[in-house]
């Protein structure tokens, strides 16, 4: 690929569902430590892009490379092992499990051991479980959830559930974190907190973040680079200021007053 040390490199990615081209000729390169935003009106194909990057969908054309490895034949869990973790637009926590267990499962690829170790309680089991417990608590502390470690995930308030999802994704120790509308359903104050958190975890864990968001304030506030999708096509990209000034973008958002007001 053109860019050897890029974390993620999507070249000319197209996906069709029957006759519908959901995303066409999508290009994206993400360098380490970058904070990139992906925006667009409803139905533009943003989440479809996420699903292709994480292996849920296979692109019809084009190639996606993570850390120089083509992920074409990879299943989602193998892509996670390459260092890509994600959150979901409609929260997908393990609802009936404790907050702590949610984070521990997030780190599954790092703590797993054979079933026989588990049954015999070998030293390997104790070592792995101790690490899992410690790392999970460390993450919960960052998100201020450690006092609720014993709660069922479904019993957390909504905002905490969103944060827990991010904590769970971080437990996989990703190099690239994909956030799918992390601010959906949050109020203004919570959104501001979230912006700070996203910035903070980028620096603390030294990872790159790709964020899908409807909330313009959030995207413009923290992203260094923004890509605008509309009807599956990339209509603009650049710094927040460039994108904001781009007439094509304004046009795409017209008819969606709530979004246009933010521009």
């Amino acid at each position: 690929m053109a860019n050897g040390n890029a974390l993620l490199d999507a070249q000319d990615v197209t996906i069709r569902f029957g006759g519908l081209t959901a995303v066409s000729h999508f290009n994206l390169t993400i360098q380490p430590h970058e904070l990139v935003g992906l925006i667009g009106p409803n139905g533009a194909g943003k989440t479809t892009v996420f699903n292709m990057l994480t292996g849920v969908y296979k692109p019809t054309e084009g190639e996606i490379c993570v850390g120089g490895v083509s992920t074409h034949d990879f299943k989602p869990y193998q892509i996670t092992a390459l260092g890509v973790a994600r959150t979901f637009q409609n929260i997908r926590l393990f609802k009936e499990l404790s907050v702590l267990d949610n984070v521990k499962i997030g780190g599954h690829i790092h703590y797993k051991y054979a079933g026989t170790s588990a049954v015999l309680h070998t030293n390997r089991f104790h070592a792995a479980e101790e690490t899992a417990e410690k790392e999970a608590f460390d993450l919960l502390k960052i998100f201020g959830l450690e006092s609720r470690a014993d709660y069922y995930a479904k019993n957390l308030p909504y905002g905490d559930q969103r944060r827990l999802e991010i904590a769970r994704a971080l437990a996989a120790r990703p190099k690239l974190l994909l956030l799918d509308e992390p601010a959906a359903g949050l109020n203004d104050r919570e959104t501001l907190d979230l912006m700070e958190t996203i910035h903070d975890i980028r620096d603390r864990f030294d990872i790159a973040i790709l964020v899908i968001e409807h909330n313009m304030e959030l995207v413009m506030g923290i992203c260094e680079r923004i890509i605008v999708l509309s009807f599956g096509k990339t209509i603009a990209q650049g710094t927040p200021d460039e994108v904001r000034a781009n007439p094509v973008v304004v046009e795409a958002y017209l008819g969606e007053p709530a979004e246009a007001a933010g521009l």
């Binding site: 997908r92 393990f94 499962i105 599954h108 690829i109 703590y111 308030p157 109020n187």
Partner: protein, 355 residues
């Protein structure tokens, strides 16, 4: 856990204690001077087998969330294969050994080998059934496993060497209280330790949300098959012990009704709760037996116990659809969970919009 104490030594001491208690119980129960103690003993042994079946099915249905209706099939594989090994290979060899300690020892060794082989073949059957579960979910998987159980039964029905429709008789009575409860304890222990480990967490993650589990790096395919293999292994072992206890096997005993019986235990106890499965298996084994005297109070000597049994099941499921213990374990229910947050706290979710 204290690190100075090696893990194998601690486990070994517990195992020794467990075995000692079991041996004591086995002899103690035989010695109780009540009329018909053999009958009670028999119910206890059946109970132990049912607990093993319920706890092993709970790994598949409760932990990994793969609805299987084929447990009787796995049990049949283990029962028939171990009975076959014993009848045609081990029993003739044992006869050549003169009576005494050596014979007694070899009998138990042969029993273990036969039962273990039965479990392994059942595990292989579980692997085969686990494969379609990669594609199928929920009801569809239930139907496939139901069909698989029936296929096994019909298959057995057509093999003359193991008795076909006549049933397989002449299996030596090698299994006993000790072995049944030893395996029972082992199943509970394995199931409990698995669910407390990364393997068990992966099972639970698959049950809760497959897409999220996959995104967290859990190879869902592998863990689903793993759950099937582990669950059916113990079902096969339980079947082997059953065969060597009743000394007679009939394909009729492994109809889908048997699978439903085990599913009823798991669901009644609470899907995903190990102690729930144990409690429900105990109740559902004793209930039909305990209801026998009711007949004496009925006019005309009709036996209403199965009616009462079914009514009790219906009432229980209506009043506690999540099962006796829900997803918790017995001690969690008794002591109440630390988080006093009500389970239905839809009001205090604050700024939650509906997605």
């Amino acid at each position: 856990m204290t690190k100075s104490f090696p893990w194998w030594l601690r486990d070994f001491l517990w195992l020794a204690l467990f075995v000692a208690v079991l041996i004591g119980l086995a002899y103690g129960l035989e010695a109780i001077p009540i009329a018909g103690i053999a009958y009670y003993n028999r119910i206890l042994v059946i109970m132990g087998i049912n607990i093993t079946l319920a706890v092993s099915l709970n790994i598949i249905n409760g932990h990994a969330g793969q609805f299987s209706l084929g447990h009787a099939g796995f049990m049949a594989v283990g029962a028939y294969f171990s009975a076959y090994l014993t009848f045609y290979h081990f029993a003739p060899r044992l006869e050549k050994i003169p009576e005494g300690t050596e014979q007694w020892l070899m009998q138990n060794v042969y029993l273990l080998i036969a039962v273990l082989c039965g479990g392994l073949l059942a595990a292989f059957a579980g692997y085969l059934v686990g494969l379609p579960s990669l594609r199928l979910r929920g009801d569809y998987l239930a139907i496939v496993t139901l069909g698989f159980g029936e296929i096994i039964r019909v298959f057995i029905l057509n093999i003359d060497k193991i008795g076909a429709a006549r049933g397989f008789s002449g299996i030596p009575h090698w299994s006993n209280f000790f072995w049944v409860f030893f395996v029972c304890g082992l199943t509970v222990l394995v199931s409990w330790r698995l669910v407390q480990s990364s393997v068990g967490r992966a099972f639970l993650a698959v049950r809760e949300d497959q897409i999220a589990a996959e995104a967290m790096g859990v190879d869902t395919t592998r863990y689903k098959v793993k759950a099937f293999v582990i669950g059916s292994f113990f079902a096969g072992v339980a079947g082997g012990l059953y065969a060597h206890y009743t000394m007679y096997l009939n394909p009729q005993a492994f109809m889908f009704v048997k699978s439903f019986e085990v599913v009823a235990m798991v669901v009644l106890g609470g899907l995903g709760s190990i102690s729930g499965s144990v409690v429900a298996a105990v109740i559902l084994t004793f209930l039909p037996e305990g209801l026998r005297p009711v007949k004496d109070f009925m006019p005309g000597g009709r036996d209403p116990r199965m009616v009462i049994y079914s009514l009790m099941l219906i009432v229980l499921m209506l009043t506690r659809p999540q099962g006796l213990l829900g997803r918790r374990e017995l001690w969690q229910v008794l002591r109440r969970r630390k988080d006093a947050v009500p389970v239905d706290n839809k009001e205090d979710e604050g700024s939650a919009p509906i997605q």
